[in-house]
């Protein structure tokens, strides 16, 4: 009889792609999560720019408020996409098929990689939709083609990072409902940064937090790339935060996945 070789590392990519196809099929069959991901930022955009826009714009001075707001909303779309991952990972862990995967000679993290990559793709699609709505409402970015590419690159990095954290939260949550609440802080962090109003307008304590939390350099970098405002060292800070969050999220998710009870 033949001795079968154990799963080789070269299968890790193939297995992850198989899991990605599985997740995209799920998303197409049950699109409600994806639609929710697009819906929340669009509602915020309509509310802040359309309803409060003229009042909030006064405090900014000289700039169209939608031009100030749109990068923050884009960031919000990126973060609300991550909530979907926590829920879908958590729901998946309650399915018996996960135990089947664990008894098969497949790459250990392929299940998670499939979720994360699938979520990055879905979130990028929802960001395209949000940008389209913003453009229709009068958002006029000054970005060149290269700057748009940099925006896309930074967003992919950010979503990738947040999605790994979210996947870990989905794994440790006590069920899909808990999982849907766990990453909520990500959605609100842009509010406590320079997402909606400049940090200089905030009270001292909040302002210190707003200026040092990871989303502020990311928003400032996005705004700089899109609108031509100064970026300074925010670019490097943004990339650094993304790499650090991605690495922490990946390691956390991987160890949480090993500990999920059979």
């Amino acid at each position: 009889m033949t001795t079968m070789a154990p799963a080789r590392p070269s299968y890790a990519f193939q297995d992850s792609m198989t899991m990605l196809r599985r997740n995209l099929k799920h998303a197409l069959r049950y699109p409600s999560l994806t639609i929710g991901t697009i819906g929340v930022p669009v509602i915020f955009l309509l509310l802040f720019a359309g309803v409060f826009g003229s009042a909030l714009g006064v405090g900014i001075g000289g700039v169209d408020y939608i031009d100030y707001l749109a990068p923050g909303i884009i960031l919000m779309a990126a973060t609300s996409g991550s909530i979907g991952t926590a829920v879908s990972v958590s729901m998946d862990m309650t399915e018996g098929i996960i135990n089947r995967f664990r008894t098969m000679a497949i790459s250990r993290t392929a299940v998670l990689t499939g979720h994360v990559v699938g979520s990055v793709i879905q979130t990028m699609i929802s960001i395209v939709a949000v940008v389209a709505v913003a453009l229709a409402m009068g958002f006029r970015p000054t970005a060149t083609f290269l700057e748009w590419l940099a925006v896309a690159g930074l967003l992919v990095m950010l979503i990738f990072a947040l999605t790994w954290i979210s996947a870990a939260l989905g794994l440790v949550a006590k069920g899909p409902e808990a999982a849907s609440n766990a990453p909520l802080p990500f959605t609100f962090l842009p509010l406590l940064g320079s997402g909606f109003v400049p940090t200089e307008t905030m009270p001292a304590g909040v302002r210190w937090f707003a200026e040092h939390q990871p989303f502020t350099p990311i928003i400032e970098t996005l705004r700089g790339l899109l609108m031509g405002t100064p970026i300074g060292n925010n670019g490097w800070l943004a990339v650094g935060w993304c790499v650090a969050i991605a690495l922490a999220g990946y390691l956390w998710a991987r160890s949480a996945f090993q500990r999920v009870k059979a």
């Binding site: 001795t3 079968m4 599985r22 098929i97």
Partner: protein
Amino acid sequence: MTNSNSPAIAAAGLRKSYGDKVVLDGIDLEVHAGTVFSLLGPNGAGKTTAVHILSTLIDADGGTARVAGHDVAGEPDGVRTAIGVTGQFSAVDNMLTGEENLLLMADLNHLPKADGRRRAAGLLERFDLVDAGKKLPATYSGGMRRRLDLAMTLVGDPRIIFLDEPTTGLDPRSRQGMWQIIRELVAGGVTIFLTTQYLDEADELADRIAVLDNGKIVAEGTAAELKRRIPGGHVVLTFADARGLESAAYALGDVVRDDEARTLRVPSDGSLRALRSVLDRLDDATIEVEDLAVHTPDLNDVFFALTGHPTSEKDLQR
């Protein structure tokens, strides 16, 4: 993988506890390639835990186990390549159709696309799921779901298959169907590790049976060997009055008598001939029987005989 000399599954001193609850208390197992081994026991005996350890889902606290020649702790991927597992709880993807589930398994077994399609189509045919293949599992009956589950396990052509209570919750017809499928697998040379709480299932399918109780193996042998250790079946006769009971006890001789319930337990293999002989003797003595019940040995009898206590309904496996 394995040859006739080395067992397909060998475990020594397996232990597992959850908190201060000991689930497996040092069990030894040996299953030879191409045979059916049944782990028989009530809910909570530790059957599922044993399957989880042997199929690399969880680590044992102590002891060693080799499956297909690979150590479950040290070379889990070697074990995973050789085994298939169909658990007690459905392991299908509910958001994919039956066919998509099988194709997913083909991809994860790294089969070329054309081979995967051919194998999926063959399994749908074999398990009578051709029409259901295009539908989501939510529309399936319990039996169909179990068949899809097993079909998914077979995509990778495993040489050793773990079946954890494969017929629990199935109607009698689906149960017969599952037994037939298992017999076909055995005919194909597959080694089967079957857990069950039904003595008749182990009797029907297994070459060797180990009885698991409270984390310990209390008996092991062929079905015939085990049955010899179990008291035979009996007939319970109920009488309308104490006088009937009295004269019947005298007429039948070797009986267990319960005056309160006005019943007699008469040892019997439950065959028609044995029943007729009992009734003839009562007829000869013109004794009226109010009720008659035939009792064949079941898991409770096995347990009572082997452990001195009946099966309990605790469920520690989840």
